[in-house]
Symmetry: C2
Subunit: 342 residues, 2 copies
């Protein structure tokens, strides 16, 4: 379905310059593509054909079985919980409490989570946890909401819960099938890595990732129940942006200020996916060097290029997409900027 226009291969990768004083101190390159739901490529930069692990950015689609299976309805899953099922959260109390309470409602506990434990990524939350004399449990893992969604779906469908992170488990098989549907690819030979939370992560070319997220953005040609699930996920994230990330995070700033015009999710190693429901477009990007700061500035530049940005979005997002870097004395020492070329 991918329709390359002739000049795509000529577009260089997006260049992100990190400046300090009068010179560029560091430089990033970002591959990126904007596609519509038919696979027509609107714009692209750099290499978009090579497999990329979409990491947590693909959580937007990984939440679909929770809704499509009927589990969300059966377990009275809230919008907060749907947003949390798509989250790489910061491990703040609001996230940990919500995950724990959701697990309890399912008759489960943090012991059922197979994501592993780590300290909250938001450092004030880490310090608060340490100060209270506690250690992190799997609910603090940034992926715990997604895993709770997996468990809810498996419970509802009568899968065994144990080993739900394995590629051969029905939970993961359903996710691969969804990826195949959305990317219009046979993924049986796709590269498979293991993600931070131990589930498989599949290598998908960026153009196909953009197609997938464009179909999520513009789902009306999908089966009705799937289209409704896409729209419910979009609505939940727009309404509960704190649950998808947390304090000091672009995902929360963006999803909380775009009024539903952009639904976006970061992934580790410099990935971002963004759905533009009003335009029916999908954005997929990957910083070649895997840095989040580059992915964030590139996403902002693409949204500006597409004329999506509002004043409200700028006011929340500029700290990430037009960062003024401050040192420990709060002196502004540098800036970051994107060049889309052409």
């Amino acid at each position: 379905m991918i329709k390359h226009s002739a000049n795509n291969s000529a577009s260089p990768a997006i260049q992100i310059n990190v400046s300090r004083g009068p010179i560029v101190e560091s430089r990033h390159l970002v591959n990126a593509v904007v596609s519509d739901a038919s696979g027509a490529i609107v714009k692209s930069w750099g290499n978009i054909d090579k497999p990329v692990y979409l990491r947590s950015a693909i959580k937007l689609l990984q939440a679909l079985p929770l809704l499509e299976s009927g589990a969300a309805e059966a377990f009275d899953v809230s919008e907060k919980e749907i947003s949390l099922a798509c989250a790489s959260h910061t491990g703040e109390d609001i996230h940990v409490t919500a995950v724990t309470s959701w697990l309890n409602r399912l008759g489960l506990s943090v012991d059922n989570l197979e994501c592993g434990s780590h300290w909250p990524t938001y450092r004030p939350a880490e310090r608060a946890l340490a100060s209270s004399g506690q250690s992190p449990n799997p609910a603090h893992n940034n992926c715990s909401g997604k895993h709770t969604g997996f468990l809810a779906t498996a419970l509802h469908l009568g899968d065994g819960l144990k080993g739900y992170i394995d590629l051969k488990h029905p939970v993961q098989k359903r996710l691969v099938k969804i990826l195949e549907d959305f990317t219009e690819m046979d993924l049986s030979d796709a590269p498979v890595g293991i993600d931070g939370c131990s589930i498989p992560t599949l290598g998908i070319p960026l153009d196909r990732a953009a197609l997938a997220i464009a179909k999520f953005a513009d789902p009306d040609k999908l089966p009705k129940s799937r289209a409704e699930a896409c729209k419910r996920i979009q609505a939940a994230i727009a309404k509960e942006p704190t649950m998808i990330a947390g304090s000091d995070r672009l995902c929360t700033a963006l999803n909380g200020s775009a009024d539903g015009a952009v639904i976006a999710k970061v992934g580790a190693e410099g990935v971002y996916l963004a759905a533009l429901p009003e335009q029916g477009l999908g954005i997929a990007l990957k910083a070649i060097d895997g840095t989040t700061r580059a992915a964030e500035v590139a996403l902002g530049a693409i949204l500006e290029d597409l004329d999506i940005m509002t004043e409200s979005m700028h006011s929340k997002m500029d700290a990430f997409i037009h960062p003024n870097m401050e040192n420990w004395n709060k002196i502004e020492v540098g800036t970051m900027s994107a060049s889309l070329g052409g």
Copy 2:
């Protein structure tokens, strides 16, 4: 003094591959050069002519006035303190206690430090500090040892202490003069940025940085008191490697295992400088994208290429230079490797 051999410009940058499963997930490029103390370039990769902020890597030379001025002798400065004067430390108790005690011995306090405060970079130390109900003070700043060295020198020489971070203050003027001596450059027009700890950072081409650090490694042609100061700094770092960085840091692993054959210092935004006293060589490198992981793997590859690595060094350093990346369940999910080309 720099003598480029004809083929230098042809060497591509060092490529660092970050692999996960069967594919390369992210990729870094690192510019690097090995020089001797006459400026003869032994090896180089990528662009070595453009100005690079050496950031904290240049602390090896910034400690010289402490010794050359007589301040170290006058204030009975220990080897631990000399290593600390070159440090980007992790803010562990051992560092904070040493800085505070050194300041007290000078009749000063943390209020004299102009580096700003931040939480310890070693997260267990951060959590311990939070658990004890305390907040960080300027002694926790990773640069506090260097700043204490600046204060000791200024005090000894009768400079005013206030504003010692300003480019026009005698402390900073001395550092610029040292850089000019070691790089054999007129730096009056060099690009100047502001570092994280608020002192100026000057843009120096990598080839000149390697020359400077080679002269530090092989100081016998320098004035006698300077040569002795270089050797005392080398000895102090080799003897007190925990003070120059701390837990879970390559600088401590390397300086603590190389038995004086390598004296190395990391800088922010992917910089490393290393002195090889036995070979009389200096290494300067900079990850183009500014990532520390790339700089660390590249430094390891260069040390291997120069046949410097011993078993003892490997046992301490491999976690950084041949990292096996684990996820939250301690599953090995990826590796990093360097390609020097050629």
